[in-house]
Subunit: 293 residues, 2 copies
C-alpha cells in the first residue's frame, strides 16, 4: 500500500490533477432524483432525499471513474439529511474507493485531544464508518488539533488537507494575505510535518487548501513556501477561476496540486434540459475540463 | 418564544451557570453499557454502541434535568459511530429539549456559502434532523462562514458560540493572547453582531468559547472586550480549572457565562465502583459543583 502523497502522485501522473467534488445540493439535483422527495416533509423527506443523494452520487462516481483519480464528497450536504444522510455518505465513500478513486472527505473538522481522535475514527479510520483516504481540517485550535490525524497518516497511510488560504472574499480577515496573518503559521506546521514524513515524490501527507481565486503571485508564494505540501485548490468553475489560473500551484513536473471542480461538471448547466444519457454528459464535461490542463 | 440570549439569562438566573457536557467516550462508559458492544466489531459494534450511547445520554439528561439549564452534546463522539451514532445524537438532542434543557451542540463546524447553510440546516434548523438551540463554530474562514448561522439567530431564535480563545496549550499559535492575534478580530465580529441583535439582558445570540484555563487577566480582558457576548467556558474539571477560576467571565450581575463540565460529573471517578443509583450519583456530583458557584 502506497502512502497517501505517493497515491496522489501516481493518480495525477495517470489522470491529471482534476478532482471532482460530490456536493449534493438538493435543489440542483436532476428532476428524476428530486421527484422522489419533493412532496414529502420532515424525517420521511430526509430519508427519501438521502436515497436520492446516494443514487446521484453513485452516478457521479460511475461517470468520473477512469477519468479522474480523486473525488471530494462534501459532508455538509449529507449531514443536513441526518442519520440517513450519513448512511448515504458512508455508502458513497465506499463505492468511490471500490471504483479505485481516492476519497478526500471535505468536512473541515477541528477539535482537540480525545475529541479530535473521535473525528479521526469517524472519518478516516479503516475500521470506522466512513474510512476516507483523507479529510479537510480547520487549524484555528492550533497544531495539536491536527496531530491525531497526522498519526493516522503514518499508521494507516492516510492524508489531511488543512485550510490555509481559502477563496472566499472574507478569508483574509484571519488568514492574512501572502506573508502575513495566520496562514504563515499554518504553512510552517505543514512543512515541519511534511519534511519529516515525505516520500519519494518529495511530498508529505498533510496538504493545504489554497483557493484558485487568489492572485497568481500569492499562489506562487504558497507553492514556493510549502515545497513538500500537496495543495487542494477549489474555486474553478462556479466560483470563477479557470484551469489556467491554477498554473502557479504546480511543481515544475506537474505534480503538487489537485484542482477541484464540483457544480460545473456534476450539474447540467442552468437552462439546459436534463440529458438523455446523464452519465455520459457528466463524463463529457469532465473530459472537456481535463483537456484544459 | 424568547430569543436565545434571553433563554440563557433566564436559565442562569434560575439554575446557575453550570452546563453539562454529554461526551460519550466509549471506553469510559459504565460496564453495564459497555458490555452490549465490547465483544462486537465493525458495523454491528457501531450499531450496538450507538444504542448504549443513547441510553447513557438519556440517563445524563434525567440526572441533570432541573439541576442545570443547558447541556452540550459533543458531536464527534456520536459521529465516530457513523449513521447510527447520528441517530443517537438526534434522539439525545430531542430528549434534552423535551426535558426543558437548552441544547448547545458542540460541533465546531465552519464552511462558506451554501455549505455553511447546509450545516445550519443539519444542526439548528427546527425542521432539520438535530434542531439544537445553538452550535459551536470555528471562525478560520472569516465572518461570512458564520452569517448563515447569524440569520438563524433571528429567524428561528437560535444561537452560536464561536471559538475565540481556547484552553488547549497550543491555542495561542493562531489565536494569540489577550490583545494580539486572530481572537482580537473574532471578538470584533461578535460585538458588531451582538450590539445590533442584543435583547433586554444586554446580550446578543453569538457567543464565544473562552477556555477556563486562561489567566484571570485574560478572562477579564475578554469579558470587558465583549460586553454583549455570552461566554461558553470549558476547562473546569478534567482539564484542571476550578469554579473560582471562572469568576472573571461573569458580568457583575452573575450573567454572561456558561461554565461547562463534562467528564468530572458524568463519569464515575477512576478507581471507584459503579454506583448502585447512577442517576443519583451524577446528580450529586452536579449539585456539589453547583454549590461552588
Amino acid at each position: 500500500m502506497k502512502s497517501f502523497p505517493e497515491q496522489l502522485a501516481r493518480s495525477v501522473a495517470e489522470h491529471g490533477p482534476l478532482m471532482v467534488g460530490i456536493d449534493p445540493h438538493l435543489d440542483r439535483l436532476p428532476t428524476r432524483f428530486k421527484q422522489s422527495f419533493e412532496s414529502l416533509s420532515g424525517a420521511s423527506r430526509r430519508e427519501a432525499a438521502a436515497h436520492a443523494v446516494l443514487d446521484w452520487s453513485l452516478e457521479i462516481i460511475q461517470a468520473v471513474s477512469g477519468e479522474v483519480g480523486v473525488v471530494k464528497p462534501q459532508a455538509a450536504f449529507f449531514e443536513q439529511l441526518g442519520s440517513p444522510g450519513w448512511a448515504a455518505l458512508e455508502a458513497t465513500c465506499q463505492a468511490a474507493k471500490k471504483a479505485g478513486l481516492v476519497v478526500v472527505l471535505d468536512a473541515k473538522r477541528g477539535d482537540i485531544g480525545s475529541t479530535a481522535s473521535a473525528y479521526a475514527k469517524a472519518l478516516v479510520d479503516n475500521d470506522g464508518p466512513v474510512g476516507a483516504d483523507a479529510v479537510t481540517l480547520s487549524p484555528y485550535l492550533g497544531p495539536e488539533s491536527l496531530t491525531p490525524f497526522v498519526e493516522y497518516c503514518t499508521s494507516q497511510q492516510k492524508g489531511a488537507f488543512i485550510l490555509l488560504r481559502t477563496s472566499n472574499p472574507g478569508s483574509e480577515a484571519l488568514q492574512g494575505r501572502g506573508a502575513t496573518g495566520a496562514a504563515v503559521e499554518v504553512a510552517q506546521w505543514l512543512e515541519n510535518w511534511n519534511s519529516s514524513l515525505k516520500g519519494p515524490s518529495g511530498f508529505g501527507p498533510i496538504g493545504a487548501v489554497v483557493g484558485a481565486t487568489l492572485s497568481a503571485d500569492e499562489l506562487a508564494h504558497w507553492r514556493k513556501t510549502c515545497p513538500h505540501t500537496w495543495l487542494l485548490v477549489p474555486g474553478v468553475g462556479a466560483q470563477g477561476a479557470t484551469p489556467a489560473d491554477t498554473k502557479p500551484c504546480f511543481r515544475e513536473d506537474g505534480l503538487g496540486a489537485l484542482i477541484n471542480v464540483s457544480r460545473a461538471v456534476t450539474f447540467t448547466p442552468a437552462g439546459e434540459p436534463d440529458p438523455t444519457d446523464p452519465v455520459q454528459a457528466i463524463r463529457d464535461r469532465v473530459r472537456a475540463l481535463k483537456a484544459q490542463f
